[in-house]
Symmetry: C2
């Protein structure tokens, strides 16, 4: 996750020093296989072969297929907001003291970069593969949810609660429902058939965020 | 689809008279295999074997795996709103002349039955399998989208446009964005890890529909 200063994918159980080049190759191979062949085709052995490293090298770094594929997914999200807005801590302390309008502008400013990342066909394929693994590989979905989704969700809820408290969203706004509606619309759009180009997705993001009241009317 | 008077799943290219008992067994077998083993494990041969019929019987009725699995998905949705609210036609003529409040009450009344259908772990597994087949079986996602999603989407848009025209939703409401947010929140919830019981899902549906302005505040 480039937005995360620590640069560390979530599950890192092993203590051994790592080779950045090998890690990069392994994660790229895992992304490619997961996107094209699904979870079933992205085993430790296939990933090692495609990355040109030994299986032991992969296992030294990631103890399970679930951990590897979750890290591969996370590595695809360059351009997405960090798990917490200041890259650590919860709630996001670096956003303390900003007004809602300032936060809304920051959100609006972040949308083009997010659209770049999300419109990538590989990102969409990875998202579908992870959700689609629900029955066959529930551990992957669980790791993805815990490490990729929930930390970002906690951050977003803090922002929405603040926006409501400051009167920028109507009193009585159900912030959890509103968050699910915003993220849900995006996930739903990305899972649809067919291509979507970056500009179309950016326009879509703006429509949804505007309808949600998270950025001002155009 | 029980809500559809014609009783016919969308792709039915073959003209031969059908055996209802065989169809029922084939669709049940396809649902089971798709839910547990994903698209890769739900081939025509495996479905025929589990249903106790010949492969020829399956092919007589459904010309492709995509058509069969799309019909299997549709057959799982008993309790969901029909593809159009009056079971045919577009826009839904039987809803003409209803006020927004009357429509909102009908929507509210339909939610418990929808929650029954959607909280079914098999339905959630099927949904994940279909979205997850994006890369490996794009034809299935395309058929599902065309026959399951788009007709319901057209119906819902008519209702939202009417609600906006009658002043029940704020002027300037982006009805397409609002629809994606509502359906998206639901899909997103169903794709999450873990179980959800029917009452919890019903409460969730009500929160989202309320936040969307589609049913009145509690």
């Amino acid at each position: 996750m480039t937005g995360d200063p620590a640069g560390s994918p979530p599950p890192r159980p092993r203590g051994r020093p790592r080779s950045d080049a090998a890690d990069t190759a392994i994660l790229a191979a895992a992304r490619e296989l997961l996107a094209t062949d699904g979870v079933a085709g992205a085993g430790m052995e296939q990933v090692a072969r495609r990355a040109g490293v030994s299986k032991v090298t992969v296992y030294r770094r990631w103890s399970s297929k679930e951990a590897l594929l979750a890290a591969a997914f996370e590595s695809a999200g360059a351009g997405l907001p960090a798990r917490t807005l200041d890259g650590g801590g919860d709630p996001p302390s670096s956003y303390d003291g900003l007004t809602y309008s300032e936060m809304a502008r920051l959100i609006d400013d972040a949308l083009p970069t997010a659209a770049d990342a999300l419109a990538d066909p590989q990102y969409r394929a990875l998202l579908a593969a992870v959700f689609g693994a629900r029955s066959t590989h529930p551990g992957l979905l669980a790791v993805f949810w815990e490490h990729h989704v929930l930390p970002r969700r906690r951050t977003a809820l803090v922002l929405l609660e603040r926006a409501t408290a400051e009167g920028h969203l109507p009193a009585g706004t159900d912030v959890e429902a509103l968050l699910d509606m915003t993220v849900g619309a995006l996930v739903y759009r990305l899972l649809q058939p067919g291509e979507i180009d970056r500009d179309e997705l950016l326009a879509y993001l703006r429509r949804v965020y505007r309808q949600a009241g998270l950025i001002p009317p155009s």
